[in-house]
Symmetry: C2
Subunit: 328 residues, 2 copies
């Protein structure tokens, strides 16, 4: 699936993933009204509203981008009907040949992580049958529990040729509270002497785990592993370092647009092959019509506004990458 992602990035010339993180107040009134008219102001009504809203956006952008990233929390808040809308969104995006990254940030002890891995990326055994729970192609994974919590995902990735993105350095303002702590790292660099350890931020330790897990989980062909990393666009310097220590990891980069990241901040997340990163924008694309810049599209043109926002993002990133390649 990592090779499919790369092929699609090349084809669309857009290392972009659209974050399908619908909030009810992003959904245009006419869609909300129709959904509430059919199901009432219920969880089912909310789920129908976000599903119809998603469908419009997916139809409008599916030829422009390689991938989507539905954030499961935005569906889970609406209980079972919300999660059914998540599943429907996953299925629909796959029909449209989009790569689907489930932003689920799961992670637990071994046997429990196995259940998450199976449910989101693999198949669960029921009697004599193997059945798909949610069927995403990638999932995001939280590393706080260590290798035990990640290895069941590696097993499923190898079997199913799917992938994960491990949280390394997240885009939010308080990510440094734990992730930036300096720790004694056992990892050696050229500067080590007599095996003495150095102090490194925790995210670097996690980055080195990602590189090591990735070595065990490579497709038969290709330069990138099934194990990627999440590194926020809001931390470009950290991105530069992490790019270097995880050369075979694809980096999923949230935080572009609404959270403040810009194209020029992103170039160091890419390898010299022009690959190795995929930039996520959620609100900036899916709620583009609510921004002054795209207000002309109006509520009924929300999906066209999303398309225009994708095109602008594509240009911004392409320009930044071209600027960089000139500098080489």
């Amino acid at each position: 699936m990592i090779n499919k992602l790369i092929a699609k990035i090349r084809k669309t010339n857009a290392p972009i993933v659209v974050g399908l993180d619908p909030m009810l107040n992003y959904v245009p009134e006419h869609i909300r009204k129709a959904a509430f008219g059919q199901f009432g102001e219920t969880l089912e009504g909310a789920a129908e509203a976000i599903w119809q809203y998603n469908k419009g956006i997916v139809d409008a952008v599916c030829d422009l981008v390689p991938a989507v990233k539905p954030q499961i929390a935005m569906y889970e808040q609406f209980g079972i009907p919300g999660l059914a809308a998540f599943r429907k969104t996953v299925d629909y995006c796959k029909e449209k040949d989009l790569v689907v990254i489930g932003d689920v940030k799961r992670g637990d002890i071994g046997s429990t992580s196995e259940a998450y891995a199976v449910g989101h990326l693999g198949k669960v055994q029921v009697g004599s049958r193997m059945l798909e729970g949610f069927g995403e192609e990638f999932a995001t994974v939280n590393p706080y529990l260590g290798s035990d919590g990640v290895k069941p995902f590696l097993k499923v990735c190898a079997e199913e040729k799917k992938g994960i993105f491990v949280l390394v350095k997240t885009s939010n303002p308080s990510s440094g509270e734990l992730q930036d702590r300096l720790v004694k790292a056992a990892w050696k660099t050229g500067e080590d002497r007599n095996g003495e350890t150095e102090e490194r931020p925790l995210y670097e330790v996690v980055g080195r785990y990602v590189a090591a897990w990735g070595e065990q989980c490579m497709p038969a062909e290709g330069a990138y592993s099934y194990v990627g990393a999440v590194v926020g666009a809001t931390y470009p310097e950290q991105g530069r370092l992490l790019r270097r220590i995880m050369p075979k990891a694809f980096i999923l980069v949230p935080g572009y647009g609404a959270q403040g990241g810009k194209g020029a901040d992103l170039v160091h997340f890419f390898n010299e092959d022009g690959l190795g990163a995929i930039i996520n924008s959620s609100r900036g694309i899916i709620a583009a019509y609510q921004q002054e810049q795209y207000a002309r599209f109006g509520e009924y043109g929300y999906a066209d506004a999303s398309r225009a926002a994708v095109l602008a993002m594509k240009d911004d990133i392409a320009a930044a990458l071209e600027q960089r390649s000139k500098a080489f």
Copy 2:
């Protein structure tokens, strides 16, 4: 809800939570057969099997214990039908007046954590109505993203008088890979000199965050905060330290029984008031009939075997606590 939990622990004299983490191979054949007979070998069939299995256990132990902890991964692996069985289990346990701890280990950036907090512990706004997604009374939370990811839970806990348990030191073998790393801690202790920082394991840093978050989130009356911690039974020494630095945090202690923790290991997780900890056992209780010790109950007596295992666990912990109080 923390006060309800404490009242129920006092009433049952059992600081015990039953982990409802059903695997299909724990479910007795006659229950599986009936469920597959009705729904086929489908996700619905699997969900029906684990729900009927849970119901039997809950009926058999609900007068003995204060709380249950369904592990959502075990349901999520069966997709939407599995999550519907989770919700049904939550509802049924609440009907039986059990406190329900959703072991969901969620955590994300601010706005996304808010969706999880609302969906699991609070109510989501749909038009003019406020609706419940899953309706647990406590949830477990992953701290890797820092305060941003936890604060939305604190807000919902304060509003709804519900609670969280933050992962501090997990019970699994590889938990130390990140959690035990020595970091420069800004926190001062009596041994600090001239404001110099000391090296502390990361779990201690997280424990101090838990204490600080808890100070902001106390019920009007009572000694314990809405913010608890998860500390594995398999790490008793760390439990002793963390007990001291988080005096107002209830500690949820997984890892008893199947993972190797014993009653005697657990005494230091409790405060001198005999409270402050609740010990989880999952497989050791719910699949007791599969152990030699309880094999006499047979498959049809699985729920009675669970009851016997709860009683044995209760005795083990009570004996350990009595031993300790003699030592004071």
